[in-house]
């Protein structure tokens, strides 16, 4: 067993940072200013609020959100070419990885082009165009018998080009493509279409979302986005893809102007398969699920390969998320649903008789309560050979309460205590709390994490560990939310406390807002974010309402004047 106490000089004085102004963070040896805007908005208590609330920021005027060029994310690229060209080869698999900020790989500032990506765009455009022309030229760029190929090509430029650019081409843009088409036409109509398409797919008008295509203006303040821009914002936020025909038609017919117009389209898009995919994408980033890939989890009494169960956990959690977000539809459901969607392998492992149809969940209310008790989450938050009370505590504080929890400081042995067949995990980890130098952090982390001790590293439910009864009592300390503080009895009770908690709702709203905007919120976002939080809360944590609220926020609908950001 690792003797934490053996370490003499430790500097482990930083409790998890508390977002609430009333409970300042303690200690912390480095970067004390640290949290910046992320902490300001965390926990639903940013000190700013709308309307008649007690905050210091009066949100009386429109608060536009910054609107920089945004590179399509990998997912958006793949969806877009699938929708434009019917090509589902997911070219982004060969793009270099996206940079991640606070969990989100769609952060605009962190994701700029680089040489490898430019080369990958070129390569993808070539494959896509070649396939499109060889397999579906007649639909892509029809040219009736007897029609002049040149005219067909120019029609392709203006019509298909407008789909690729998500707006009508300017005269110069069309002329540039026309010139390429005309110069290539002697090599044949298909080749000319192919090269034109290749150029379209490498143009920044396609690769970036351009939210503010205007000549520089001297206007100041907030500028309402145009219909084309709103169409793109809606579709790329809610479906991670290019606007569909309905959206394009609405934009073209002046039916994408008012808040009601936006809401109508938003609610329609929320009914699409792509919206489900968006929620999965968001959840994956928010919850850090990519860390499950390649995670080795084993138990001495099971013979699974180290990563054999990962695909099963992922599909199980995916089905759960779909159900929680779209069927139940609320934070409360997400955190308390007793459903398990099990593959045959998992059903056997968990001793649950699974329905033959994996889309039909088992219900295990005495063992499971929502997201935090899902097998995939419990396996994610574990070590290869044991449960991970610390990770589980961190997860609740960080993902659900939007507190930043720092990794252990230097000089601390961060190795989980060795597995011991004569003790429970809790007993082995008790050292954290016994050692004063670690207690300040770990009383918060383990206090929550011990509440999940009924789930092992394979996500199995257990009441005994090594022949000893599992003690899953826990306590919430230093959460910054008085309504959460204090002892609780196991993950089921903790989940039910979190299910209707305002800090949790505020945190989820903040996370989804970051995803929607592709940035960590800053001061210009506070009024919009507060509106979003208020609507989410008054809907009792309904996800659809949250997503609609984001599309109705000022930051979503308005941009600052170009030269007056």
């Amino acid at each position: 067993m690792i003797g934490l106490a053996a370490l003499g000089v430790l500097a482990c004085s930083n409790a998890p940072r508390t977002p609430s102004p009333g409970t300042p963070a303690t200690g912390g040896s480095g970067g004390s200013a640290g949290m910046g805007t992320a902490a300001m908005s965390a926990g639903g208590s940013s000190g700013m609020s709308t309307g008649g609330s007690s905050g210091t920021l009066a949100c009386t005027t429109t608060s536009p959100g910054v609107a920089p060029l945004r590179l399509l994310t990998h997912l958006q690229y793949d969806n877009t070419v699938a929708d434009l060209l019917g090509d589902t080869t997911r070219p982004s698999q060969q793009f270099p990885a996206e940079n991640v900020v606070l969990g989100f790989s769609n952060n605009v500032a962190a994701n700029q082009v680089n040489p490898t990506l430019i080369a990958a765009y070129q390569s993808a455009a070539e494959s896509l165009a070649a396939t499109a022309v060889s397999s579906r030229l007649a639909t892509l760029a029809p040219c009736a018998d007897g029609a002049a190929n040149g005219e067909c090509g120019h029609t392709f430029v203006t019509t298909f080009g407008a789909k690729v650019f998500r707006r009508a081409l300017t005269a110069n843009e069309a002329a540039n493509f026309d010139a390429l088409f005309d110069a290539t036409l002697p090599s044949g109509y298909p080749k000319a279409i192919e090269l034109t398409l290749r150029a379209m797919l490498q143009s920044p008008q396609f690769l970036y979302r351009v939210d503010a295509l205007h000549a520089p203006t001297s206007e100041s303040g907030a500028i309402a986005l145009g219909a084309d821009e709103l169409a793109s914002r809606l579709s790329y936020f809610l479906t991670n893809s290019t606007p569909d025909d309905t959206l394009l038609a609405a934009a073209a017919n002046d039916q994408l102007v008012s808040a009601t117009d936006i809401e109508t389209q938003a609610r329609r898009l929320l009914g699409t398969t792509r919206a489900k995919q968006m929620a999965q994408d968001f959840m994956g980033q928010w919850l850090g699920l990519d860390q499950l890939s390649g995670a080795a989890r084993q138990a001495p009494d099971e013979n699974f390969g180290p990563t054999e169960l990962v695909p099963d956990w992922k599909s199980s959690l995916g089905a759960f998320i779909d159900d929680a977000v779209w069927n139940d539809g609320t934070v409360s459901g997400l955190l308390t649903s007793p459903k398990l969607f099990l593959t045959p392998k998992l059903a056997t492992l968990y001793g649950v008789s699974a329905p033959s149809d994996p889309s039909v969940p088992a219900s295990v209310p005495t063992q499971r309560s929502g997201l935090l008790t899902q097998p995939a989450i419990m396996a994610l938050l574990a070590h290869s050979d044991q449960s991970g009370p610390v990770q589980r505590g961190v997860f609740v504080l960080q993902q659900l309460l939007c507190m930043q929890v720092a990794p252990p400081p230097p000089n601390v042995v961060a190795v989980p205590p060795a597995v011991d067949q004569t003790a429970t995990t809790r007993e082995r980890f008790a050292q954290h709390i016994a050692d004063q130098s670690c207690a300040s952090c770990h009383v918060s982390l383990d206090g929550i994490g011990f509440g999940f001790e009924r789930y092992d590293q394979l996500g199995r439910y257990r009441e005994m560990e090594n022949g000893l009864p599992v003690d899953d009592s826990g306590q919430v300390v230093g959460s910054g939310d008085p309504s959460l503080e204090g002892p609780f009895n196991g993950a089921l009770e903790l989940s039910s406390k979190l299910a209707t908690n305002e800090t949790v709702r505020s945190c989820i709203a903040t996370q989804w807002y970051r995803y929607a905007m592709g940035r960590v919120e800053d001061t210009t976002d506070q009024c919009s974010l507060n509106d979003v939080k208020a609507r989410f809360s008054s809907s009792n944590g309904n996800f659809r309402e949250l997503l609609v609220a984001i599309t109705l926020s000022d930051a979503f609908r308005y941009r600052p004047a170009l030269e007056n950001p």
């Binding site: 970067g31 060029l69 270099p96 680089n114 540039n176 290749r198 390649g294 930043q404 990794p407 961060a414």
Partner: protein
């Protein structure tokens, strides 16, 4: 210059790749001076080193010493190896971020980190490194006549924040590594124009097509630039520069190499595939060097806060937590030394490969310079003093095969002095690098 490629390289590489033998005569003869082509590699492995297994033993002189455990795999290349003692990562001592972040961010940039939202030790936060990395400066100098300026390779480097980036094209502009051998292969070989048996290149319609497409793309960028904000225009300028670069490289003479067959797709997150991925990347890099497709690379194994196991070494501890243990702890010692030896073995494989390729009167190994280091000196204390640094090659610029104490009087020099030396060795004539207040010029011990 004729480049003769020894069969062994490609047979070795064939352990993972079905590689054709690129024995075509060089087409690069025109305009190429007789001076040797130099290559440069930065290499990172995580979490410091076990010093008691790192520093040489039985040291009699700079050239008379015994390699310690970690460097045993490099024994055959001892004459190419330079071990530098008492160099500090002074630029990791201040600025935003925790010790892992600051260490990896400054290792090859010599800069502090920017402010930002990446969280590390005791709640400190940071952004990306605040400047270009040394490999990219070198790529700008020697990587301009090859099809690719540089390659960024990673093995389970799956943290996509500051912890997972060692190469920077500029301040706040990290270059993500490719972590999937198939992607590396495609990046290098997929679109290569291959000459025929006689070495002649068929009139290449593909090149002409690409040229005209890119010309159009450039026009569209210019058109968009007239209609966006100043900040966005800068973004588009950067985009344009990269497109122009692709365009310019297209015009270059194609390669004197046959195209190897591609590797199978692997899971970059898989612990079981990890050794195959690493060796495939080393082999692909070797071939890319041999074919003169690229002259600069960075190679990153894992990241500072990793929790990965090395099961093929029977090392089942989780990486970063393991490195927090007392280095004298038997488990930590044996597992971490085994991992470091395996890392050494990757360096050895690269140099074995490169030594098998003759180039004029020497081999590519003779014309390659590699720097391998890590983000903290000792994982359990996160120190940045007396960094474990190995150089391989570079014998044309300094005498290799030595163990050198770099202390100057009673002061350890900044690693940025070493970076200046590396720049100079690669033909970049500058006297300072990174944050100016730390750098006093080329490393005295290597001059």
């Amino acid at each position: 210059m004729k480049r003769r490629i020894d069969r062994r390289l490609f047979l070795r590489a064939a352990s993972g790749l079905a590689v054709a033998l690129p024995l075509l005569p060089s087409l690069r003869a025109h305009g190429e001076s007789a001076s040797p082509i130099r290559r440069f590699v930065t290499m990172y492995t995580p979490n410091g080193q076990i010093h008691s297994a790192w520093w040489p033993t039985s040291v009699v002189s700079q050239t008379d010493f015994a390699l310690n455990d970690i460097h045993q795999p490099l024994a055959a290349h001892k004459s190419r190896l330079t071990l530098l003692k008492n160099i500090d990562l002074q630029t990791a001592g201040s600025g935003p971020g925790g010790p892992h972040q600051r260490g990896i961010g400054t290792l090859f940039t010599g800069q502090y980190l920017q402010t930002g939202n990446f969280v590390d030790g005791c709640g400190s936060t940071a952004g990306w490194a605040d400047g270009i990395s040394v490999d990219q400066v070198i790529a700008a100098q020697i990587g301009q006549t090859t099809p690719y300026p540089s390659l960024e390779l990673g093995v389970r480097a799956t943290d996509n924040d500051v912890q997972g980036r060692i190469a920077y094209s500029g301040a706040g502009a990290p270059l993500p590594p490719l972590t999937q051998p198939l992607d590396v292969y495609n990046r290098i070989f997929k679109d290569l124009v291959v000459p025929d048996q006689s070495g002649a290149v068929a009139t290449d319609a593909m090149l002409a097509e690409r040229q005209s497409v890119l010309d159009t793309v450039v026009s569209q960028i210019s058109e968009l630039e007239t209609r966006v904000s100043t900040e966005d225009k800068q973004k588009l300028d950067a985009h344009l520069t990269l497109v122009r670069d692709v365009e310019r490289r297209l015009a270059q003479v194609p390669l004197a190499c046959a195209k190897p067959a591609g590797p199978a797709a692997m899971d970059p997150t898989s612990e079981t595939d990890m050794p195959n991925i690493a060796t495939l990347e080393i082999d692909l890099l070797s071939i890319a060097f041999a074919c003169d497709l690229v002259r600069v690379a960075s190679f990153e194994v894992s990241t500072g806060l990793n929790r990965i196991r090395y099961p093929w070494l029977n090392s089942m501890g989780e990486g970063h937590p393991l490195s927090h243990m007392d280095p004298a702890d038997p488990t930590a010692h044996s597992e971490l030394v085994a991992r470091a030896q395996w890392h050494s073995g990757l360096v050895a494989r690269l140099f074995d490969n490169l030594a098998s390729v003759t180039e004029g009167d020497s081999t590519i190994a003779d014309n390659t310079l590699l720097m391998w280091s890590t983000e903290v000196s000792e994982g359990n204390v996160h120190s940045h003093t007396n960094m474990p640094i190995v150089l391989m090659g570079g014998g044309w610029h300094f005498q290799s095969g030595r163990f050198i104490d770099c202390v100057e009087g009673s002061t350890n020099p900044s690693h940025t002095n070493l970076l200046v030396t590396l720049l100079n060795a690669m033909g970049v004539e500058q006297q300072t690098f990174g944050r100016a207040e730390f750098c006093t010029g080329p490393l005295k011990a290597l001059t």
